[in-house]
C-alpha cells in the first residue's frame, strides 16, 4: 500500500535558503543544493521549494539553482512561488521540477489550473491554499497569508480540484508556527470533499503530531514542515521509525 509522505519545505530567496536552518555538519546551510541532498539522503519522500524572490534577476538565479538541485537528487520535487502563467510552469518544469504549486496565481486566474493540467497533466498541478478562520468561517488568504480574499476555503479548494488540480497543500495560518500540531479540523473538512492527495502543512511541533495526523485522518496523504526539520528538532529517519512503530505505513530508508 502507498506510504504516507514526509516533506520538508525550503524557502529560497535570490538563490539562497532563508529562515531558520540549523544543521550539524553542514557548513553552508543556505545552499539549496546541499540542503536538498541532505534531506534526500536523510529519507525525505519529496521536497518542496518555494521561491520567495521578488526580482526577475532573483528568479533567473532560482532557475539555475533548481536545475542543479534536480541534477543532484532523485526524489520528486515540487516548486512554488511566483507561478502566474503556463510560461512559469514551463520554466520550472524544464529545470527538472516534477510538480508545480500555484496559490495567488490561481486566485487571480483560476483558468491557469485547467490550462496547466491540460498541458502537463493533473498530477503536475498542485493547489496550495493558505487558510484562516475568520468569524468561524474558513477563508482563503492571498499574498503569503497577508490578504483575505473573502473566498470560502472549502468550496474554493474543491473548485480548484474540479478545474484540474491533482494535489492539495493545505496550510493553516491558524496553526502555522504554533507547533502544537496540525489543524485537524480544517484538514478533515478539506480531505472529505476532494479525491486527490492532501498534504497537511502548518503546526507540526514534534514527532507525535505526525502520528496524530495520520491516525486521526487516514485520508491525509502527507505531512509537510519546515522549521522543525531545519532546526534538527525532528530527524526524518527517526520520525519514520516512530511512525512505523505506531503502525503508520511509511517508506523507510537505510540510514
Amino acid at each position: 500500500m502507498i506510504t504516507k509522505r514526509i516533506i520538508p519545505c525550503l524557502d529560497v530567496k535570490d538563490g539562497r535558503v532563508v529562515k531558520g536552518v540549523n544543521f550539524l555538519g553542514l557548513a553552508d546551510v543556505s545552499s539549496p543544493v546541499k540542503l536538498a541532498k541532505f534531506y534526500s539522503d536523510g529519507g525525505a519522500d519529496e521536497l518542496v521549494f518555494y521561491d520567495i524572490t521578488a526580482s526577475a534577476e532573483g528568479r533567473a538565479l532560482f532557475t539555475d539553482i533548481l536545475t542543479e538541485v534536480a541534477r543532484t537528487i532523485f526524489i520528486p520535487l515540487t516548486v512554488g512561488g511566483g507561478i502566474n502563467s503556463v510560461a512559469d510552469f514551463d520554466r520550472v518544469l524544464k529545470c527538472g521540477a516534477d510538480k508545480v504549486s500555484v496559490n495567488s496565481g490561481a486566485i487571480r486566474n483560476p483558468a491557469l489550473i485547467t490550462e496547466a493540467a491540460k498541458k502537463y497533466g493533473s498530477q503536475c498541478v498542485v493547489i496550495s491554499a493558505d487558510v484562516k478562520r475568520v468569524d468561524g468561517v474558513f477563508r482563503v488568504f492571498a499574498k503569503g497569508g497577508r490578504e483575505n480574499t473573502g473566498m470560502e476555503a472549502i468550496s474554493w479548494i474543491r473548485h480548484c480540484v474540479d478545474l484540474g488540480a491533482g494535489e492539495v497543500v493545505l496550510n493553516s495560518i491558524d496553526t502555522d508556527g504554533v507547533k502544537k500540531g496540525f489543524d485537524l479540523e480544517m484538514l478533515d473538512r478539506v480531505s472529505s470533499v476532494v479525491n486527490v492527495p492532501v498534504i497537511a502543512s502548518g503546526g507540526a511541533g514534534c514527532m507525535e503530531d505526525f502520528t496524530e495526523l495520520f491516525r486521526t485522518l487516514p485520508r491525509v496523504d502527507a505531512g509537510l514542515a519546515a522549521s522543525i526539520f531545519h532546526f534538527g528538532e525532528v530527524d526524518i529517519c527517526d520520525l519514520k521509525e516512530k511512525l512505523a512503530r505506531d503502525g503508520i505505513n511509511v517508506r523507510r530508508t537505510a540510514r
Partner: protein
C-alpha cells in the same frame, strides 16, 4: 551507450541526470541512426497514450525501437514508455501499442475500490513475482515512486513485480530483452538508481 528516445513527449532532464549520476554514457536523441548504434534503449513517456503512440509512430522511431528490440538489444520502457510496449491501451478509447509484450493497458479504477484515490501516486513497495536481472541490486519490498492512472493487464507471464493498491497492479515487466517499469526509477532515490544501474550493466 544508452539512447534515451526523444519523441517530443515530456521532460527527459531527470532521466538523463539519473543515468549520468550512475556514470552511464547517455544520449537523448530522436535520431534513428543514433538509436541503432546504441547498446541499449530507454523509452520514456508521460501524458496520454494516444498522443504518445502517435508521436512515436510519426517520428518513425516506433519502427526503429521495435526492430532493435527484436534484434535482442536491451530495451527499458518507463511509465507511459512501459505501457507503449504492450499490444493496446484502453485509455480514453482503444489504441495500438508497439506489441513487444503481450497484454493491454487498462484503467486502474476498474480493479481498485472506489474510495482509493486516482492516480496511484506516491511511494509503494515492490513485490517481486519473478527473479529478474533488473532487480539484481535491490530487494523485495523496496519502495519506488509511482504516478499513474492506468495499468498493464493480461500480461501475467511477463510480470516481474507488482505493487498493492487495493489490487495487485503491474509494477514491472520483462519479456526476453524487453523490460518495463510502471514507476519512475529516476524519482525513486537510491533504489531507482540501482534499477537503472542493473539495466545499464545488462
Amino acid at each position: 551507450m544508452i539512447a534515451v528516445v526523444d519523441y517530443g513527449v515530456g521532460n527527459l532532464f531527470s532521466l538523463a541526470s539519473s543515468l549520468s549520476a550512475i556514470g552511464a554514457e547517455t544520449v537523448v536523441t530522436g535520431d534513428a541512426d543514433v538509436i541503432r548504434s546504441a547498446d541499449k534503449i530507454l523509452l520514456p513517456g508521460v501524458g496520454a497514450f494516444e498522443d504518445a503512440a502517435k508521436k512515436l509512430r510519426e517520428s518513425g522511431l516506433a519502427d526503429v525501437v521495435c526492430e532493435e528490440a527484436k534484434k535482442g538489444k536491451p530495451l527499458l520502457g518507463i511509465c507511459l514508455g512501459m505501457q507503449l510496449l504492450f499490444e493496446k491501451s484502453y485509455e480514453f478509447g482503444e489504441f495500438e501499442g508497439l506489441g513487444l509484450i503481450r497484454g493491454a493497458v487498462r484503467p486502474i479504477e476498474d480493479v481498485i475500490p472506489a474510495d482509493l484515490k486516482i492516480p496511484h501516486i506516491g511511494w509503494n513497495a515492490l513485490r517481486f513475482q519473478k527473479k529478474s536481472a533488473l532487480f539484481r541490486h535491490i530487494q523485495d519490498g523496496d519502495f519506488v515512486y509511482f504516478v499513474h492512472s492506468f495499468y498493464a493487464a493480461d500480461c501475467e507471464e511477463s510480470v516481474i513485480a507488482t505493487s498493492e493498491y487495493g489490487a495487485e497492479l503491474t509494477a514491472a515487466v520483462a519479456s526476453g530483452n524487453v523490460y518495463g517499469c510502471q514507476f519512475h526509477p529516476e524519482k525513486s532515490g537510491p533504489v531507482g538508481l540501482a534499477i537503472l544501474r542493473a539495466f545499464v550493466e545488462m
